[in-house]
């Protein structure tokens, strides 16, 4: 009797569940776990970023095996030389110092390449539509007290709202929902936060590396009350940088993906094409903005506080 009642409730819920409406239009602000690797949950964004990383590393190894120190390089080497030179010139245009450029260049270039590739991966066909079952705790793995509580809830009352919620949750656990196996890493806040933390941490590192403990003077300045207050603002600013970096990149890329999904859902042919072009542009610009801001922060951190204020005033 209980089982029959429960089945009926689940059937009704499955028909009227508003979540079913969004099944063909899958939009999730969080990355979903697609498999577990030795107990470590691997989300679709991490899985995609791993593929991108393997591609970059594989390409680097392949390039190194074909690399020749010659004045007549192959087409591939010519292309890589062109990209590296353009990125180095970009770094040098900001630092105007070869020593600093050589120090910052690998990080800035890697930021740019890593972000732009992850942005563009989200635009590839198959990233989104290929679905797998989401990995999480199934009903069979629920704790015994949780199972007991749900059974008591069903037995002890009529079909009311708390029961519906619990049953729905249980039903979802028993019938795992389908999630995309690929997701652009930059459309996951965890990735953008990681990149932002690297950027801000390295800014502090380069500041200390170049100025020593004098770098912290801009955060702790007791020369005047105003300077002290400015120091507090500078400290807040460093944390704000992390949030700013992370949410700017995440927001732009995630919003772009949602836009593409919605446009494709509404009109599948031709209409999404301009939006794809726009997202290609946005992907490039966001990678450039992230790299450029990081570079500017690196450069400012390696200059004295007075010099920095002077430069900011000039700019």
């Amino acid at each position: 009797m209980l089982a029959k009642k429960q089945t009926l409730v689940l059937l009704a819920l499955s028909i009227y569940n508003p979540r079913h409406m969004s099944e063909s239009l899958h939009v999730s602000i969080s990355a979903e776990t697609v498999f577990n690797f030795f107990g470590l949950p691997i989300s679709n964004s991490i899985f995609t970023s791993l593929i991108v990383s393997f591609f970059l590393i594989g390409f680097a190894i392949f390039f190194r095996s074909r690399f020749k120190a010659t004045d007549r390089p192959s087409a591939l080497q010519n292309f890589v030389e062109m990209v590296v030179e353009a990125l180095y010139n970009f770094v040098y245009s900001i630092t105007e110092n070869h020593k600093k450029s050589a120090l910052f260049f690998p990080i800035i270039s890697t930021f740019f390449l890593f972000i732009i590739l992850n942005n563009y991966v989200g635009l590839l066909p198959g990233v989104g539509p290929i679905l797998v079952e989401e990995q999480h705790l199934s009903a069979a793995n629920l704790a015994p007290d949780q199972v007991m509580a749900s059974e008591e809830a069903v037995v002890g009352s009529d079909v009311d709202q708390p029961l519906v919620g619990e049953l729905l949750e249980k039903a979802e656990n028993e019938h795992p929902k389908l999630v995309p196996i690929f997701r652009a890493a930059t459309a996951d806040l965890n990735t953008t936060l990681a990149l932002a933390i690297i950027s801000v941490f390295l800014t502090q590192f380069f500041g200390v590396y170049h100025l020593g403990l004098a770098y912290f003077k801009k955060f702790l300045d007791f020369s005047s009350p105003i300077a002290f207050f400015v120091g507090i603002l500078e400290t807040i600013l460093e944390f704000a940088k992390v949030i700013s970096f992370a949410f700017r990149l995440f927001g732009n890329i995630f919003a772009g993906e949602v836009l593409l999904i919605v446009m494709t859902y509404l009109v599948a042919i031709l209409v999404p094409a301009p939006f794809y072009a726009l997202e290609l542009f946005v992907g490039f610009i966001q990678a450039l903005v992230f790299s450029m801001l990081t570079l500017i922060f690196f450069n400012l951190a390696t200059k004295g506080h007075h010099e920095e204020s002077h430069e900011v005033a000039h700019s």
Binding site: L56, I61, R64, F105, T110, N190, I197
Partner: protein, 161 residues
């Protein structure tokens, strides 16, 4: 949005690995190559600059040498012209002197020849006069014939001259 520390750490490590790989396999060799090439180009440009400088110096030396040679040639030309003019004048003077001397000598010889000729004519006229006189004496002829005889003898004398 669920922020998971494990995922953040994983992505930091992931980025670090990519950074190391790209730096080791791409950035370092390519930047070294580009630097070497830049140095080579700079060295070549400097060498080209030196060669250009050397060429300009040589050009300047050539122009100076040419100028000096032209000046020298001009000077030599002037000297030669002057020398030629002097020589020509000298030769002219010598020729004139020689001519004058020859004229004088010729005049002297002419006068001498004239005197000798006159002497010879005088002698022949004397002989002819004697012959004419003999003929006039031998043949008594009239004045007209006499005159004709004299003219004939004179003509013979002139033709014999």
């Amino acid at each position: 949005m669920d922020i998971q520390l494990a995922q953040i750490i994983f992505q930091i490590i992931n980025f670090g690995v990519v950074l190391v790989a790209l730096t080791h396999f791409i950035y370092k060799p390519v930047l070294k190559l580009l630097n070497d090439r830049r140095e080579k180009v700079t060295a070549a440009a400097e060498a080209a600059g030196e060669v250009m400088q050397e060429k300009e110096d040589l050009e300047r030396v050539r122009e100076n040498t040419l100028l000096k040679a032209n000046q020298k040639a001009k000077k030599m030309e002037d000297e030669i012209k002057k020398e030629a003019r002097t020589q020509a004048k000298l030769l002219l003077d010598q020729s004139k002197a020689e001519l004058t001397a020859r004229e004088a000598k010729f005049s002297t010889e002419l006068v001498k020849m004239k005197k000798e000729e006159l002497k010879r004519m005088e002698k022949e006229i004397k002989v002819a006069a004697v012959v004419i006189a003999e003929k006039v004496l031998d043949e008594s002829i009239d004045a007209k014939k006499h005159q004709k005889l004299i003219d004939q003898q004179i003509n013979e004398i002139i033709e014999s001259l």
